[in-house]
Every structure is written in C-alpha cells, then in structure tokens.
C-alpha cells in the first residue's frame, strides 16, 4: 500500500480501454486496483495488441511475462504485464493456449522487447511452451539437461521425482506444528488457542 497511489483510474486510461475495445476483440476488463487492470485477448490478437500498446499508448515496459497452468480447463494462461511510466499504470494481457499437442505454442515477442527472450526461454523450459522463431529459446535456462516433464506443469509430481532421483535420508519425520507447540513448547497457553 503506497500512500501516493492513484485513487481512481484516470480518464486517459479509460480512453486506452475504449480504444482497445474498438480495435481488438478484447474482453473481460478487470480493474484490480486503480493503477492495475487486466484484459483478456485471443492468442492471435496478442501481438498486434501489444505492438499497439507499446507504439501508441506508451506501455513501453514489459514488467514480466509468465504462464499459469490451468490444468482443469486444459489451457495455459499467458500473462503479459506491461507498464506505462507516464500514467503509472500496469496492464496485464491474458491469453489462453492449449496445454497439450501442437497448439502449445505462442508467437515470440522478442522483437518488441528483447528481454522477453529470457522469459520465453524460461517458459519453454518450465512449461514446455514452444516459441518458434525466437532465437536461443532452446538453450538451457535454470535446468541443465532436463529430460523429464517440464517441472512447472501441474501434472509433474515433484515429490515423486525427488524420491526417485535424489536419495532421501531415512528417518525424516514431519510434526504438525500447532500440535507440537501445544504439547511441548507452550503447554500453559494451550487452552487459550
């Protein structure tokens, strides 16, 4: 909570929303804070939309680019968060792509923001999303020589993998924190909980 936060979304930003609604098939405007909003777009419209935002509306800074695995719906949600320094406004563009098969691919944005290359390398490694035409996207990012399911996909069982690959030291016990503290550390205060 910053004190100099804008109380209400300024008029200029409403104009941006209006313009986007007029030009692109965006939907689902969600104003989470006065200085932060989210819009949903079709995957084919994301690149023109981001180009327009960057060139016309001054959203020149890519804050981050990440994905969310919505395994129940069978999609990855890609989130492009762009920032406008003049209006001090964050705009998140959300697009959905299928998790499996040939559709699990997205157009590269490294021509708009060169730094996006690193995000795309990470998404390729951690989620298995392909970015055709993106340079260096197949290089290792954090994992070196990974040959299993990409670990950030929710169908990857990290505990099972750890037990299979790294040697678990026997004798590890997990105590239920609350119960343990009641019994051993603060017995006199236990009845007040």
């Amino acid at each position: 909570m910053t004190t100099n936060r804008v109380a209400e979304t300024p008029r200029e930003i409403h104009d941006v929303f209006k313009d986007l609604h007029r030009r692109f098939g965006v939907r689902g405007l969600e104003k989470r804070r006065a200085d932060q909003a989210y819009l949903r777009a079709d995957r084919d419209e994301v690149i023109p939309l981001l180009t327009h935002l960057q060139a016309v509306h001054g959203y020149g800074h890519l804050a981050f680019f990440t994905a969310v695995d919505r395994i129940e719906e069978g999609v990855f949600e890609l989130l492009y968060m762009v920032h406008n320094y003049e209006l001090r406004h964050d705009l998140g563009i959300i697009a959905e792509i299928p998790r499996e098969g040939d559709g699990c691919t997205m157009e590269t944005i490294h021509r708009l923001w060169p730094a996006a290359l690193t995000y795309q390398r990470e998404l390729r490694e951690m989620f298995g999303i392909a970015f055709p035409d993106c340079p260096r996207v197949d290089e290792d990012f954090a994992l070196e020589g990974w040959d299993d399911l990409p670990p950030m996909r929710r169908d990857f069982d990290t505990r099972e993998y750890s037990e299979r690959v790294y040697y678990a030291r026997p004798g590890r016990v997990t105590k239920e924190t609350r119960k343990h503290m009641k019994e051993n550390l603060y017995p006199s205060e236990a009845e007040t909980w």
């Binding site: 197949d138 040959d147 299993d148 790294y166």
Partner: protein
Amino acid sequence: MADATTTTRTYAERGAPANAAVANPDPRTIAGGPVAAPAGEIATSPKEADVRTVDGQLRIFTEQLKLANEGLAPEDRRNFCDHPPEVIKPFRGTWEKFLNWARSESLWILGFGTGCGAIELRPLMTARFDMYRYGIQPRPTPRQSGVFVIGGYASVKTMKRIVRSYEQMQGPKFVVALGSCTINGGMYWDSYNTINRLDHYIPVDVYIAGCMPRPESLLAGFVRLKEMIRAGECEGANRYAENFEWYKTNQKRIIKNWNMPDYNW
C-alpha cells in the same frame, strides 16, 4: 522451433526417464548404496561397453583404471588427465600429528557461496565473530583452499560446480556442510531441483544443522573440524578416491549434461 514442438509432444508419451535405473556398480564401497548392481554386469568386455553411458564409462574405469572423459569434445580430451584420484596414505606417528596440527590451525575456506546459508559467512568475517582468530580465512580459488563450506541447499546446477571445485582443491581437503538442506534436503526435500543428501556426491566431514545455523554454530562446527583434523579423522579426499566409482555414479545420475572431465585436478 520444430524441435521444441517435438519435445512438447513426446514427453507425455514417454514413461520413466532413462536415468531411472542407473545401478551402483560397486555396492561393496559404501553400505546401503542406492541400488544393487545387477549380477554379471561388470564382467562384460570393455570393447562392447558403450562409453556414452555411465555404466560403460565405469566399466572402463573398473577394468582399465582409466577415465573415459566422454563428456568432453575429442580435441579437448588430451588436455585433461585420464587417471582417477589416488589414495595418499597419511604418515605415521609424530610427523603426521605435527602436520595435522598445522592443517587445523590454518583453515582456508573457499569463498563460494553455494546457497542461502552462505549469508552466514559474512558475519563470521566481521569483528563481532571474527573467524580469523581461529586461523580461518577465505580464499578466492579452489586450488588455494582447504575447506569447502557448502552453504545450504545445492541445486543440480550448483552441484556440477561444487563437484568441479571440490576436485580442484588440493588434498587434504575438508568439507563443512551447513544447514538442514545438505543433511536431508531441509525445506527443499521434495524439490525437483535440489539434492537431498550431500554425502552421496562429495565426502562431508562436519555437518552443522539449522535453517540456517547462526555464526556461533559455524564457529562450533569449525572448532569440531579442528579437533577432528588433529585426531586424524578427516580423510575425505582419500574416501573420495577409494569410493570414486560410487561418487561418480551418483553425480552422473543427476548431472545429465556432463560436459566436463571425469576428474578435474
């Protein structure tokens, strides 16, 4: 590009990864090894052995006492030694005691913070805790150092650098593992990317438990290490040489893109 798309499609169809059943070829070395060796495996001719697999490289090692260095490019291979490390027996009697006293009084630690616990090394250097009064000081390179402090969790990517650095240190060398993560994985015990037991990859002399241990605990650990060195109990480098195959199997099982020499002097 096309390659990445292929990856996306094939991993779902694939079953267990190829590394799932790498056997410990020498179960004699350390009791309670991870997997028992299949019978008759070591007896295969080295010519038939596929040098690209861990088993094949270890077969060459077992039968010819040579390191395959298969991870290196052919033109680089001649730049690296193909001899495995050798056991250097300690002297007997007073001379070794004198050497051990001298070693324990000048512990030079490798300034390589491998995890979050390395933050505790900074206060150690300051006036409040002042590790220099114990004869401990940091050195910039592995070849100048005698003590390797593993600062907490070790990811597989770091493990690769830890192995290289450890092998470059000159013997006798000591390893102090600090934090719960090096003992049993700590809070990262079920992570896909951090190891659970450091002593399966390099020999460890002293563990300092805690998440993370205070500088006082580190000093206590160093004092314990000094006692152990004086008692002649810190033979980690020799243990590494004796159980070289076992350590290498464990290391190669997790470090999948092994593009470094098999032993790095």
